[in-house]
Subunit: 246 residues, 2 copies
Amino acid sequence: MINIITSKNNSRIKQLIKLKQSKYRQEMGYFLVEGFHSVEMAYKANLLIEIYSLKPIDNLDVDQYIISKDILDKITTSVTAQGIVAKCFMKKALPISNNIIIYLDNISDPGNLGTILRTALAFNIKDLMLSKDCVSLYNDKVLAATQGALFALNVVKSDFEKLVELKNSGYSLVATSLKDSIALNELPNLKKIVIIFGNEGNGIRQEILNICDYKVNIPISNIDSLNVGVAAGIVLYHLNEKYEKM
Amino acid sequence: MINIITSKNNSRIKQLIKLKQSKYRQEMGYFLVEGFHSVEMAYKANLLIEIYSLKPIDNLDVDQYIISKDILDKITTSVTAQGIVAKCFMKKALPISNNIIIYLDNISDPGNLGTILRTALAFNIKDLMLSKDCVSLYNDKVLAATQGALFALNVVKSDFEKLVELKNSGYSLVATSLKDSIALNELPNLKKIVIIFGNEGNGIRQEILNICDYKVNIPISNIDSLNVGVAAGIVLYHLNEKYEKM
């Protein structure tokens, strides 16, 4: 069904504006995505509730609301909106089931988190655990950087205890760390891995480093560190190449 | 020498504000960097002219101007300023001299450009060529993402003709491209390479693809492409590993 909304004071529009805040997203269980690509991914994942756009959108069998540019600007936060926003259900977290898992410890930059999610999906890694102090998964900048990847991933809030549980159930914990570490290509063949990336400024917290089975680094020169999104890309590429040969 | 500036209308402050615009940077040959790390890198590279900060800075033998938070906020654009800004000379472009060169074709996101510069330095690649339609090198977001790497690199504005010259002088042109390409690890050993990365949305322009000797891709699943900064990281890591073995 296609409807037209002309007022910013419409109750649906008011709800969308509230959904910019993490508190309301958690309360309501909804979040917003912007841009055609993300909306399509949401639709495919059966998580699309309704669309708000400047023009009618074909081929998507959901309720549509036509709104003005003024109202769209109130709802969206980025230049990537492309005239379309959608309200979606948050994904339910599933049990961890794959042999390679990513654990993110206090990633604070939304662009980095989004990029890591996109890269994970590209390398077919579908289980990601996020420490509770990571930036919000449904932050608009995270969503812009994921390019819709979120809908195909299983991303769960996590903590130190969950890491201990995985270790006890047979996963090797592998930290990326500059200190006291072996080069990435010296990592032995491991069947089940949790690969851990840490905060942009401080790296992985000591509590976690203490229980890791391996610490690996990417050999670099001249500067102290790589951007964490780039580091994740290199590690996942390397593991992907390695596991293909195994 | 340490001086105190109390007015926003001070002619030095007015000049700094102008330097936020690309036009004035080109005209004057100066640009601004923010944050301790970048200021230190500028100092080491002998490109630091003078410092503007909330408090006196030790160990840097240049003119210092103490300014208020109000004035600092007028000059800086990011949260990374850490109470310090410096006016620097732009680096002079040097002749290309290394065996691995990066060519960036119309990279439009400042974070991506900055990240690629930082990653290049980490993998010891010091010559970078930028097509004229790349985002400005001295954009504050580019500088924030480079983490000071710019000062240790040779970054030159470039164009199609320069690529042809390099090809004629014995460099193999290697494009990263999703279409009609071989996997990255199938790239033969080449002595002199120009590795080319393209625009975030459109990839490398056809004119350049037409003259490339090799096209390589990073094998991925589920999604169409990686972030270009991540892709660059993976390619440079791979080349670094490969050339170490050669």
